[in-house]
């Protein structure tokens, strides 16, 4: 008997059942099941509730880590931030990830354009048009050559990198004030207008104004958080908070939940690939993981048609445990 004939015979044998039936009330079963699940959900909710950690804002970031905030703002200005160099769908700074000759990220193009220097620094500062000192500094910066701008950016970024408590979150108001003052003291002729620009941007962010400007779109109602979230993601603040909640990629990332709550356990296989080579060290990790998961998903759906995979349940007779009463009855 060939494999094909054997498979067909096994398949045909399951088409029709001629054995005994037992009484069954499908409506009663469904009602009881809904009752049990509802009770479980209520009990679990009363006992454990659910997490709700306040969102990070540009304001909270700039207050907690002022040096880190202005360093990120400078990286947006000089084009060295993660967003500035991301590529599609935000800009054309790179081609993005790919597998061999397949450049899906590039092919789908720039759908959510972000000009980091304009959107995160220049335009928000331009909005403060009553501040003549700032506007003069902005004019100086924007009319300078790219080489000069880069020299100012580098000089300022180097100084900010040496600011006290650069990577630490301030734990009190006094610390916030002291760390902010340290950033505002940064100055030097080689930094051009940067100290004025960054000082004003920091003050604007700490007052909450930058959150509103970044969320503003062409229309009055705003629901698109792309710009503000990309800015937050470029800084150290968001990962710092995530690390405390064991949410980093190296900590099995987003399948976890804040606090001790169960997260998206069903994402374990997606997250798993990021933990091992070659994915963990590849610049194309995301597209590789998506390709692997796409392939596995297709195979998962196609299990009934996959020789070997569909035969395994017959070789490992767990089915005998499931239908033990049936087989016992046949034996007797």
């Amino acid at each position: 008997m060939t494999y094909r004939q054997r498979t067909k015979a096994i398949n045909d044998a399951a088409r029709e059942y001629r054995g005994p039936y037992r009484h069954y009330d499908i409506v009663k079963e469904a009602t009881i099941a809904i009752g049990v699940v509802a009770l479980l959900a209520v009990v679990l909710s009363i006992l454990f509730s659910s997490p709700d950690e306040k969102p990070a804002t540009v304001q909270s970031w700039s207050r907690a880590m002022p040096a880190s905030f202005v360093a990120t703002a400078v990286s947006e200005l000089d084009g060295s931030s993660g967003t500035a160099g991301y590529g599609p769908p935000y800009n054309n700074a790179s081609t993005g990830q790919h597998i061999a000759f397949i450049h899906l990220q590039q092919w789908f193009g720039v759908a959510h354009p972000i000009n980091t220097s304009q959107d995160y620094v220049i335009a928000p500062l331009r909005a403060l048009n009553t501040d003549t000192t700032l506007q003069h500094a902005l004019n100086t910066y924007t009319s300078a050559s790219a080489k000069q701008q880069m020299a100012w950016d580098n000089a300022y970024a180097t100084a900010v990198g040496k600011a006290p408590h650069y990577a630490d979150q301030a734990e009190s108001r006094e610390e916030q004030k002291s760390n902010t003052a340290a950033v505002l003291r940064i100055s030097g002729a080689n930094m051009g207008p940067l100290p004025v620009m960054m000082g004003r941007l920091l003050a604007f962010a700490q007052a909450g104004g930058l959150d509103g400007v970044l969320l503003a779109n062409k229309q009055y109602y705003a629901t698109d958080y792309t710009k503000t979230l990309m800015f937050l993601a470029d800084g150290d603040y968001l990962p710092d908070l995530a690390q405390n909640d064991h949410l980093l990629g190296t900590q099995w990332g987003m399948m976890n939940e804040t606090g001790s709550f169960p997260g998206q356990g069903w994402l374990w296989l997606y997250t798993f690939w990021y933990q091992i080579k070659p994915f963990s060290t590849s610049a194309n990790a995301d597209v590789l993981v998506m390709a692997v998961m796409g392939l596995l998903s297709v195979l998962f759906v196609a299990v009934p048609f996959l020789p070997g995979v569909r035969d395994l349940p017959r070789k490992i007779p767990i089915y005998r445990l499931i239908w033990r009463e049936h087989y016992a009855q046949l034996q007797s």
Partner: protein
């Protein structure tokens, strides 16, 4: 004019029925529906005797969790996405929603594994498996968009992390995890609709084909019988039509 439908599936035409059935799309659809899934299959009062294991419970528990998800999600949607952050009642319904999704996936995974070890695709039931598997796959972005719609730190972190995978394959250009308005729409309508439709098809297919019978007790013997051309059925013919009280 009252008529009798000739296929026997619907013994009597309903009062008010005027169509002879010739050329009527409605009657053709009704006949096909009733032939494919007669009421006694759709709402059965009997079950094959082999359906006697705890593993069978997980299908209906998955459905019940889905019902709880829809109920709690509807309440959260009625009050708007910001409600649960400020209201203890809202927070309670959010907790119900969270624990329902945890149960939904927990029960569904056990259900899927159970069906795998039963080779539940046998006997023309491949579509039952594939609809179930696709439901599982669609439920994942459905849950992901829910986590992103929370409007809290968790949502911020998950969306900024998950966007890279979406962007890497181009999906991010039209499915922007950082756009709350878009993702909320996906979460409260589009993806749940897909899940519910798939579940309906899945359940109807189960009712149509019945629960898969056990693998033959003596596989070799069955294959031998099959090779000789004999009819093969899982249950013993002597037990046919016998009703077992449990």
């Amino acid at each position: 004019m009252s008529t009798t439908i000739d296929d026997g599936a619907v013994p009597q035409a309903h009062a008010g029925s005027t169509d002879t059935g010739n050329g009527s799309w409605t009657v053709a659809l009704r006949r096909r529906w009733v032939n494919t899934l007669p009421p006694e299959k759709l709402l059965p009062d009997g079950q094959p005797a082999y359906v006697a294991s705890w593993i069978y419970v997980f299908g209906v528990l998955t459905l019940s969790s889905l019902a709880m998800l829809i109920a709690s999600g509807t309440i959260l949607a009625l009050k708007g996405p910001g409600w649960w952050h400020d209201s203890s009642l809202g927070h309670f319904f959010n907790s119900i929603h969270l624990w329902s999704v945890e149960m939904f996936f927990f029960f569904m995974v056990i259900h899927l594994w159970g069906k795998y070890w039963m080779s539940a695709w046998r006997g023309g039931r491949a579509r039952v498996w594939t609809t179930g598997a696709v439901t599982f796959l669609i439920a994942i972005p459905c849950a992901l968009t829910g986590y992103i719609s929370q409007q809290n730190f968790d949502a911020q972190w998950i969306s900024t992390q998950a966007k890279d995978a979406m962007n890497s394959v181009g999906i991010g250009s039209f499915f922007n995890l950082l756009n709350f308005g878009q993702i909320y729409g996906y979460h409260v309508f589009l993806l749940p609709l897909a899940v519910v439709l798939l579940v309906v098809v899945h359940v109807l297919l189960v009712r149509r084909h019945g629960v898969v019978p056990p693998l033959p007790n003596d596989l070799q013997q069955m294959l031998e019988d099959s090779r000789k051309g004999g009819a093969v059925a899982t249950g013993s013919p002597a037990q046919a039509e016998q009703v077992v009280s449990r």
